[in-house]
Symmetry: C4
Subunit: 218 residues, 4 copies
């Protein structure tokens, strides 16, 4: 059995557990941030749970690296995996490829490329926005000069950032809040690129199809 | 007679009434929001009228679903129809396909693909902006801390949101106002995608045409 | 002699005078707005001059319409001409096609499509920004609550609007100022579309070229 | 030996020194701006160093012009070179083509076109943002009414400008600060164009590939 098929088998077996782990991670983190009056015991428990879930992610990354047999070439060719390891809050973004794998196995016909890109951009925006709002809210809450008083403010800020609207009525003022914001701006640019790119590509395709249907003399 | 042709016949017959219903809906809603000193009788009448027009929309949706014979697959494949049912204020967006159908029947030559996309994006922006400004103005008006004092402020906010400029001099501060704003930001992204995508596609086309006209040796 | 060649001859003869007229129009308008202490005589003279230059534009439009022999179809197919007639401040945008015509006649090789689009988008942005800053400054100057104290503020606002950045430190507060701003936002979207579209198209082209250079077996 | 090969030889020999010079330029400039309590001797030394490095750049530009044998056509066809000469802070942008040349010589396989565009856009954004933040910070620091109190504020402003988000919580207020900001807005637009364009082109390509793999009857 060669490396490729072993990597495929590993991915097939760990799909569902990793999917569940990603959802649990986001839920535990959200609870931790939003439930400010959590008793100390639960507070500690959630910390250990987050660490354990991160360790699961690290093990999966290591196994993938090992089975790929690519050495250092693995890092630049698996950007999403690596990003997710460094910034564990982005882990739920892995839901997207997992969702595709599940749908693929269940034998349902795949959506067209442009429909997939639009729906992935939408899902990614929702997950990135929710995780980013949580992270920034945790960092900014109660800091002097902050304009982010409630979690609703944080979500509002996240939406205006990802869409590159940027009202500026709610903005992060701390170093780490701004660092997370910069990651989200990059995400907003990528989303814009995905939406406009897929729209353009869909247009091109329908245009050439329309051209085919017409008599060539026209 | 198969399902497809019955669906087509239904659409053909309900086109004009639905077009009128959509315009009346927007007009009644606008009157309700902008005429603050409406007598109680007219206030109640407009409520019933809006409900009745929404019911018309729901019946049309149900008939479409039934005639399509697609079961639950109908919802993801008719995104615009579904969205319009949930958010009745977006109903006027249905004017766009209706306009195309009317133009098609009247035998006029269709515009080129890119001209249609640009004009649809423009019409959608106008309708989305007007409906969004109405809805946000209704929600925000008179709330503590609001910066949206007149309907003109609401329209100005809508324009700066849809174009993703986002000055931030006028912003919604309530939960529902921000919810509507998020829908409009998504609209702004889609508009940007439509404009840039169609422009790119038009460029590509004129470029390949230019290439064809030159001698191949160049 | 058919209509087409007469229209072409008309355009060829009026090119240079219209180019000069557009430049004079912008210069007179700029002087009028920026030189606030202009004596009454010069103030009146500049008004008459602007009216006369607008009349020249109207005559050119009428002749074009007549020679085209298209009837009412002329308006939707000559969007730039019509826009320039309604909003005389956009007249300098006509410099762009005139520049092309002059370059064409002088026998210089034309730039590639994408280079032309980028340079037109750049020129249009400069002209639109300058004209828009002038118009908004004239409307907003000295109004209560304005944040636009100098012409420099107006230019800064125009740049942040056309690039869709929209800081919001300087914003129009009057009805007409906001109306002009909405026109400029539309311009900003179109510019973004031009830049991203031409870049995408250039990429596509270099990509297919690269593919051609490789052996087909790859 | 013709001009082309001499130009190529010149470029090959000056590559590494120019790369080092660009890095030193940025480092010296950053030190000068950020270390406000630099002794007078070091302050003068850094000025002379910056001038010397600029002179190196000017000599390289002159030699390129001479060897190209293009006369005045050289300026419009070498936009990046010219821009870098006028605005020496953009010099590090030359790192991008140098990086490509180095990678090319070392015999490594080139990345795909879209991967290169994305990575160049990313590198350019980082360099443009850092250089722009330095320049604006130097100009704005300590001016009356400024909102840019620390270099962190300047970097935050640069990120929100390049991504066209534009919160407006930190904005330049001086003439030169706004001038630099306008250059950076143009950069932000170009970046958006690069990202969306390359994404669109990648989508198109994978789409046509997918179409090829399917049986033609579908």
């Amino acid at each position: 059995m060669d490396d490729d098929s072993r990597a495929a088998r590993w991915e097939q077996r760990t799909e569902i557990p990793l999917f569940v782990a990603a959802l649990v991670f986001l839920a535990v983190y959200a609870t931790r941030v939003l439930a400010t009056d959590l008793p100390v015991f639960w507070r500690h428990l959630s910390t250990y749970l987050l660490l354990a879930l991160w360790a699961v992610s690290a093990v999966d990354y290591a196994v993938h690296w090992r089975l790929s047999g690519q050495g250092l070439r693995f890092v630049p060719t698996h950007v999403l995996h690596t990003l997710v390891l460094v910034l564990p809050l982005l882990r739920p973004l892995r839901i997207v490829p997992l969702y595709e794998a599940v749908q693929h196995r269940s034998g349902q016909p795949r959506l067209s490329l442009y429909a997939r890109v639009i729906s992935y951009a939408g899902l990614s925006a929702l997950l990135l926005g929710f995780a980013g709002a949580l992270a920034v809210y945790q960092v900014e809450r109660g800091k002097p000069g902050t304009t982010m008083h409630t979690f609703g403010d944080a979500v509002w800020w996240a939406a205006s950032t990802l869409s590159t609207v940027g009202y500026g009525d709610v903005v992060p003022v701390t170093f780490f809040g701004r660092l997370i914001a910069m990651v989200m701006m990059t995400g907003g640019l990528a989303l814009l690129g995905a939406v406009t790119g897929s729209f353009s590509s869909w247009l091109m395709r329908s245009f050439s199809r329309e051209g085919d249907e017409r008599p060539p003399g026209r």
